[in-house]
């Protein structure tokens, strides 16, 4: 086995580990790290396979490709982290809801509970729950503003009514 093959296999291993991580880990920061592990793996395969050239010189083309790839990866990572911070700031959580459960129309009546409360307790720490509760209150207050934008009914009941309308199946509101 040549060095190239060895490192290519290692890259595949990283690819697999990252893939498992992105599927199985729930915390978004973990998922983002996992994508970076996957990309490291792919880059390693790319260079390691091209390491086996005839002439004896390493092939610069894959090196350039990996350089490009690293830059693309950091761009995507930075964007994902920006999204995560924003998402956290607005929801107090670091996990994606189940696909579709947040999309208001497709939310079955019971499905909101399916992911919010149990996930909330799953971190195992009370502080998080508190953080979210505080957040939720703030969210309600805030909703007053948002809905004024919508409905131009701009009065106080509307702000409070947000909670009631949450029952309509709107995933975000009951937080």
């Amino acid at each position: 086995m040549t060095t190239g093959t060895l490192y290519a296999l290692c890259g595949l291993g990283l690819f697999g580990i990252g893939l498992g991580g992105i599927i199985l880990r729930t915390h978004l920061l973990h998922k983002i790290i996992a994508t970076n592990v996957i990309s490291s793996g792919v880059f390693l395969v790319l260079v390691a396979l091209a390491d086996r050239t005839r002439g004896g010189r390493p092939d610069p083309v894959p090196h350039a490709m990996v350089l490009t790839g690293i830059v693309v990866a950091i761009s995507a990572t930075a964007l994902a982290l920006g999204l995560l911070r924003r998402f956290y700031r607005e929801t107090g959580r670091c996990r994606l809801p189940e696909p579709g459960s947040l999309a208001p129309g497709s939310l079955a009546p019971g499905s909101l509970e399916r992911w919010s409360p149990e996930r909330r307790s799953e971190g195992g720490d009370a502080e998080k729950g508190n953080a979210e509760k505080g957040n939720g209150e703030k969210g309600n207050a805030e909703k007053g503003n948002a809905e004024k934008g919508n409905a131009e009914k701009g009065n106080a009941e509307k702000g409070n009514g947000g909670e009631a309308s949450g029952g309509k199946g709107d995933g975000c509101r009951t937080w």
Partner: protein, 546 residues
């Protein structure tokens, strides 16, 4: 100068995107000017391709294995025309959209804060106001960069360059979804970003296998050197799997409805109309022009089967939706299914041309119809102050133009004559029947019937008697642009000959002229077989001597 024809569709929007990023208040003007300019550029490219056959351009003057090659054939030209039409319409619509949303939300910002909004919140609103303006402003550079990346992807002759283009599209799409700033949009954008990045990495791993096997990244050289061995098959699986995620084929579509349903409407139109097509375009290219091999037929059947499943599943979900934009987004899931039927159909060489050209035409007409539908729905939603289908009750009375636009777009989605969707489905159906894949034909018909179902769910509400509250007025731009785009999608059925002739150039299948002309003349009701034959002959000639 003919060389410029192939570079300009990439150069102009990308440079304009950079300019729009720094230009401050000029950005809107820049964006619109470029959107208008792109249409003649795309037509120029199509004309050159028609005249000279497939075009090659070596960027930097380095020939293929070392440098990057741009390549334009009929399919590329058609895609670029498609993109420029949709981008123009979306750009014009967005002018009205962002101006209007800013204007509409401003008064509420200035109203005295309610009991919930205390002092700090009030300062918060001023912050938010400027943020909002700049956010509407970010649409322009993002959409320009998106347009440039799309054209770059369609023109690219290099599989690594395709990877970068795909990533550009992903990041631009995420930015566009993020413009909506709603929580749904954030979650959808995050999910889309993670999934799309992993998809790209699958693709890149496939690229690395191919490169280490064949020592080239140029797909035409790859096509010449390609051997169907085990490693290559692994590479095919990786490439196609990565792209399937981005094209949202049925079991991998789960990110799509939320992402397209929560983006701002102009962005949804771009994403559903164009970005999905880009990933599919790459699969189409690679599958039929790089890896064509009889033993791919089985995998093709699998993809076709998934496509059929997507048609049924997406349509049924669309019918079940309560929200307008999700309905349209699920319709995209279904329509993507039609595109994938080609992999099952084209395994029979006799019908391959019909299936392939039908699919390409389907991309074109679906891009127009779906974008029009999203734009129309966006207008209706704004007018109705709500995104539920219920909310548009009676919209036809207040906004007849918009409702009419949605209906026309629906005609395209359902594939009724004389729309472009009809031509495409007709070609696909013929291919299915002639290759005795009756199941697929039935699914196609069922998909059409189901599309009638979901389109009429909206139309039914729109035409229902209203219960009083009149809807808000919306700017003219936002009423007429969807209508024009929808008219284009319908009109595509009447001018099908020219695009199909364009497609012929550099096509992977020699058109079996008898089936082709018979099919076309029947559906288009033109009956000028002789003329068509002539045109076809010309097209072939043009293709032969570039």
């Amino acid at each position: 100068m003919p060389d410029l024809v192939i570079v300009a569709p990439i150069l102009v929007p990308l440079v304009a995107g950079v300019v729009a990023y720094v230009a401050g208040r000029l950005r809107r003007g820049v964006a619109i000017a470029v959107a208008v300019l792109q249409l003649p550029l795309a037509c120029g490219l199509a004309w050159e391709v028609l005249r000279r056959g497939p075009l090659h351009y070596e960027v930097g003057g380095w020939s293929a294995p070392l440098g990057i090659q741009l390549y334009a054939d009929g399919l590329t030209a058609l895609m670029i025309c498609m993109a420029s039409i949709v981008e123009l319409a979306v750009g014009v619509y967005a002018l009205g959209y962002f101006e209007w949303t800013e204007r509409e939300s401003q008064p509420s910002d200035h109203t005295p804060p309610g009991p919930s909004a205390t002092g700090p919140a009030a300062t918060g609103t001023t912050t938010s106001e400027s943020a909002k303006r700049s956010r509407g402003g970010s649409f322009w550079p993002l959409s320009l960069l998106l347009a440039g990346s799309l054209n770059g992807l369609f023109l690219s002759g290099d599989i690594f360059n395709l990877y970068i283009s795909l990533e550009l599209l992903t990041l631009a799409a995420v930015g566009l979804i993020g413009l909506a700033a709603s929580l749904d949009a954030l979650a959808a954008a995050l999910r889309y970003l993670l999934i799309a990045v992993v998809g790209s990495l699958f693709y890149l791993l496939g690229v690395s296998f191919l490169y280490s096997l064949y020592g080239t990244l140029d797909w035409q050289q790859l096509a010449m050197r390609f051997e169907f061995d085990f490693v290559s098959r692994c590479a095919i699986v990786l490439l196609v799997l990565g792209l399937l995620v981005k094209a949202a084929l049925f079991p991998l579509h789960f990110w799509l409805p939320a992402a397209h349903g929560s983006a701002p409407s102009p962005a949804s139109a771009l994403l559903s109309g164009l970005v999905l097509k880009a990933a599919f375009f790459v699969i189409l290219r690679l599958w039929f022009e790089v890896f064509p091999h009889p033993r791919l037929a089985l995998a093709g059947q699998l993809l076709g089967g998934l496509g059929a499943a997507a048609i049924l599943w997406g349509s049924l979900q669309a019918i079940r939706q309560r929200r307008l934009k999700l309905l349209v987004a699920y319709s995209s899931v279904a329509q993507i299914g039609y595109l994938f039927l080609v992999f099952a159909l084209a395994s029979d060489p006799a019908v391959a041309w019909n299936a392939w050209s039908g699919t390409a035409y389907f991309m074109l007409s679906h891009a127009c119809a779906k974008s029009a539908a999203f734009l129309a729905v966006g207008s209706l939603q704004l007018a109705a102050r709500g995104g539920e289908i219920e909310d548009v009750t009676g919209a036809a009375a207040d906004h007849p133009v918009t409702v009419y636009a949605f209906a026309l777009a629906g005609v395209g989605l359902m594939g009724l004559p004389p729309s472009g969707g009809f031509v495409a489905k007709w070609l696909l159906l013929r291919a299915a029947l002639e290759s005795h894949q009756v199941g697929l034909a039935i699914v196609m018909l069922a998909g059409g019937v189901l599309a009638v179902g979901y389109v009429f769910r909206v139309l039914g509400r729109a035409f229902a008697a209203t219960d009083g509250a009149p809807q808000r007025p919306i700017p003219r731009l936002m009423q007429w642009t969807p209508l024009v785009l929808a008219l284009v999608s319908v009109g595509l059925g009447l001018v099908a000959l020219q695009p199909l002739e364009l497609l012929r150039i550099g096509a992977p299948f020699a058109p079996s002229s008898s089936a082709q002309s018979a099919g076309l003349s029947e559906q288009a009701g033109l009956g000028e077989q002789a003329g068509l034959g002539e045109q076809a002959g010309l097209g072939e000639q043009a293709g032969a001597n570039p």
